[in-house]
Subunit: 223 residues, 8 copies
């Protein structure tokens, strides 16, 4: 039983179809499989984003060329940039967290945006148990066009935000709770069931996906 | 097979042991069973609270004596008061709702308190998607010693409250949502997983239970 | 125990803060409660959207003035329009369904957009079990700036779409399945776990919420 | 992408608003993040409680100044006390467990109370499978004003207690079971569904939260 | 497409193999199907037990011969007894309930035993929120050889019993709760996770099954 | 807002692509919607299968032409056959049930096969609690090439079958249980987790799907 | 904060009340806690059973006196026997497994019985996917008075048994599956929903509990 | 307590009854138990498949004779082939994956087929987020008689396939997701609820089971 199949069928035209580059979700893949995928790409002319890559697995990769690893967000950018990313419109984007434990997910979103050439601001620890944290930043939040809100536990922050600001709110539940909040399930359901109008929800811990929604929204601005 | 057993073993000493009177949970009982239970009590010298009693079932009961039914809270008080309730300390108690759909549960709590001789205020529709609703009432909420907060959907209201006021916060999730919020499960888990400090949670829709917690807290004030 | 509280605290400034008008979620409220809420508003100068309003409950309402009820979407618009809605930017918006059973949710989204002055197209029954249905409409879908996709069962349609088009994809799971698909839970989880990049998910059957996300995205276009 | 954001927005006014001090939930945070948060506070004039801090993580912290770590409760108190805590009323408070496996959660509650200047008693292993254990201590339990009951498995203890004593009963389910009792879910649902009147429930293993509810109840006694 | 298959393959030898007679579970069958099954049996020489038979469906059956229907337990016995049941040993068996809402399930167990020729006692409403109810009956419970305990809500009664008596305890959770206790799931998990030693659990509301376990235990006594 | 969209995009080429005709799942559609879909087809030259069509809804349809409704399986065949179905290979196919309550699902499978021109046998009530029922039919089952097994409750029948016969076993869990077996979830999981080798599982109650799997398997026999 | 409480309140009278000795569930307790509990007992005159004790934790205990550890069942018996256990009636008891992976749970049951002075037989790997394994042992199983059946995956074995034998069947689901069978949940629900008459179910992996049910059943035989 | 029972009752006649050989599921068994089972077989004349065997456990086995271990699929074939497997019909079989993370499960299926003498093709990474991957291989997929599709995340691939090809589609959900997709539950439910006609589903990660279904289907071709 030989295996002549490619280790992956890379979707190099995805950016031209959707404005979003394919990325490698590393968590369910072995270091060997990731290395093999990267070896099939020509990283001297291409660049690729890797997500959910643990520090141990990153160290075990065998890679040729540039490799920029960020342990907090568990993301890496491999290969050399070549006319990538294309210039994009840049309205104000803010990434906010409910608490310090949400920072890793927030940074995954931020790095994904940056990989696509989009800058974003960060506001950390705005959890509504101390409402002044949010109101203190309200002017900045009101002028944001897109807000990516990462929140665990009961994830009340996006609900409160949704009644205060006009921007697109993308909410990512974070798996930082325990008990019924373990695995982010309470945060997810709280966001989906929210009485706040117009909250776009992603899978738990999916900072990458939140950034991709933001990129699609930015596509609206292109003429 | 004859049935000589009593239809219920009524716990008449519960008030003296706990300060809380036993009540009849009517939902899982037939009108015949409830009528039989009431017939075993001497309602000319006793008073009893009935909860979760639908309008149809209330109409089907056969009862001797006084019967005060409230359709919104689905509660009834049967029988004549005789030196009941005992005098109680009366700090300020507020019952708040996140929205109009929570009113039935709020009224169950209110009627239960009143049956025990305790007055309470009501603040309706304070949901945090319009934060001004809460802040407008903040002075009153800060001076309350006990707050019973009934909230469905994502139930963010008690979390926001918990960071703003010093009173005892008893939160009852309400089953008024749909999708993942159906049956109140999202509201319940949101309350349990809340980052807000010190929220006492009850079963879904359990306004009666919320009032009982408040009654136990009032027992602290007795010398 | 008198009830001097308002039946609702209406959030008339929400449009100016967020660009989205408050609506009345009718499902968990009695016809009496809805009528009371409407009576507190001056419908001769205001307009209000009602959602999840069954035909039976709509018939039981007592309302003064204009009342436009749509049984498929279970929405109603009460009151006279007065300089509402404000003029909006109008990029191409398409609402697509996986099958005929998703039409009610699609129409809730469509009516919500229209209430806010936004037109949208409709493409019905594009389910991927017959892939030609989707590819036949691909040019139209590629030029859409926002796509609201309503899909039940396994909800594969938004995943396939996400690889083909650049627009913002808002996906609403629909509770039209049975067995493990009952209540829309399989559709919801399929959308959240999708390998397709950048799908904004709402609660099950929440066509209103999908439209609100679209309205926030349109806010990006305002200068 | 630089990060100029604070690692946390500490809520130093929380005690004056609510009577409860903010604490650091350490479980979802790295040792680096916790050290950074502590470094931002001036521990020579402040004191802070850390919860759910494993022995390994505690050893990995870099801290200046006093640090009192308790491995059983996984709590630590960092920094020097300065006029903290304020004097409080001190009615009798008892912390009870169903079994030895609940002791860690019980001690988290106890340490949290002590950090706020409140003493409490401890009654260990009162599980109702040996009812004499409870009845032997009944006089002491009857005179308690607040009882924090930590119980895993089927968590029947608070239900039995609730019929016997007048004090405020705060019940914390403990994740010490296995099978359907794993993760404390059976204990939690048993407490929420209890027929015992007036049980205030917290999230699973949330001894800190139980203590915070007790602190709010003590606020009732302040004039 | 003709259907020559029998409507059921009746297991007439089951009593001789197991000591338990087959019964007809009526809930998932139409009145037509039940009538057809009964028509295939010769009810002049046989007797059959029907369970979970609603009053409406019972009225819709077309049956020849004797038919003894009990609406509380929703059971019926059809046909004439012919040397059935065989004589059995008769130790003391008690059926206990936590509350009046458990009576229907208790009676299903009782009727099933009686159909097999076994008498049982009944003790109603022994819920542990009023512990005196249980202790008052303790002598009788201690001398019982088999106890079938039917309990809903948090189902703490069998746990308390298990520490007090030596008899075989068969516990049937009852679906009389609401919120997290709805459908009997909290009661079931509480019984399975119980710290009480040696509780035999059945499916929710399965009074028939509880009686069958008791019948198998009685088989131990046969020589 | 006019609706010019077709009420459905019918997939008339599906049989030529897959050997399976599209059908109309009626449960989530209104009688009006189903009537509209049928009106768009030319039933004088086409035939269509309708599934999960309740007797009430069937009576409310407005249809031109032939309409063959079967209440047990809740299926209907509308329109005139025109050279349909194509001739098929016909190995022995048996549809078996665990009990009488599984007959409706079994008949849905049978009618679906027949609509595609495939005959099948039926063996009813072979549940393994009376093992002789199965062994009595073992020769017939051993010679079957395809067995569709419909089973509810704990669904042990397909597991036992899988060790005894060489045919393709397609197992459909049936929602005829109660308690933990309600909605067919226990049956489904039992089938998926089965230690029996090679059981093809469908969604709960999906007799139509089971037949479609059988049709695909029959495609293997075509040259 | 000193801790003067006992580390455990041992229930030495449990055997005389119930015929079952208390045991120490070691899984949720640290080696230190277990050692402390044992130190409080006088093991020179007492004997105690320890369950769910991992090999690592067993090695870490500090114990005086006899200690008999069995790694397969993860049980230990500490201390010297003194007139314990009392003589018991000894009908035939068989412990059966569905497969080799169930042996650990089976041995926990066996060791618990032996600790109480009761011998039992063992029949391993009788899973019904090879039905001959069961029928080969049928005579022995028919003559058993009590059968403890440990089964994972879909746990069909006890259902098949229940139709063939008259003995008391105690079924313990085993957490040896994967996918939907992981954690033993499919096995548990299959047993609870079984159509087999009279199966007494325990919590997942609870071999100790199964033995305790058997001990209570043996109490029936005592005069 | 001696254990004279066999460590396993091997089902050597299973191939002749069903065409499928028994295999050893290694995950829930210790290396000692697996070694003992193998020692009871005469591997000089028999061959056996081992599944879900981790690399660590494989290294810890003590085996006599041939042993072919494949780490990707975690399968091993022990013993010497003797006239095994029997010659089989060989239509085209394709194993497809949605992504690289599904390869391990795909290889378990492939190795199981090969062990039974059946060759199969492999098509890797055909996920529908890049639809060209699937359409590029469509001719090959259309001519396949059996397709085993392994897919995680939202598992949309088999749904799309089912509308395009006539072959038997066996779908195995893969546990490679995270958040709501963790443990493969979203993929499983998506496959069961699929609107695609005729998808045969297995337990999560059950590549072995998928191959067994294929083997049963191949039995149709035998005369």
């Amino acid at each position: 039983m030989t295996m002549l199949e490619p280790i992956a069928r890379f979707d190099h035209q995805r950016p031209s179809r959707t404005g979003i580059a394919e990325a490698i979700l590393c968590e369910p893949k072995s270091a060997e499989a990731i290395s093999a995928i990267l070896a099939e790409m020509d990283l001297s002319v291409r660049q690729i984003l890797l997500t959910r890559l643990s520090q141990e697995k990153a160290a075990a990769l065998s890679i040729q060329g540039l490799f920029d690893y960020d342990p907090l967000s568990r993301t890496a950018i491999a290969g050399a940039s070549r006319n990538w990313p294309p210039p994009r419109p840049s309205p104000q984007i803010e990434i906010v967290t409910g608490g310090t434990a949400d920072l890793a997910v927030a940074h995954e979103a931020r790095r994904t945006l940056l990989y696509h050439g989009v800058e974003s601001g960060l506001l950390n620890d705005l959890g509504v148990a101390g409402l002044w944290r949010l109101t203190e930043q309200l002017d900045r939040l009101k002028s944001a066009r897109i807000i990516i809100a990462c929140a665990g536990m009961e994830a009340a922050l996006p609900t409160v935000l949704s009644g205060l600001v006009p921007g697109l709110i993308i909410a990512t539940p974070v798996s930082c709770g325990y008990g019924v909040g373990a695995n982010g399930q309470a945060a997810l359901n709280s966001l989906l069931a929210s009485c706040g109008p117009g909250i776009a929800v992603t899978n738990i811990d999916n900072g990458f996906g939140a950034a991709c929604i933001a990129l699609r929204a930015l596509n609206l601005l292109q003429t």
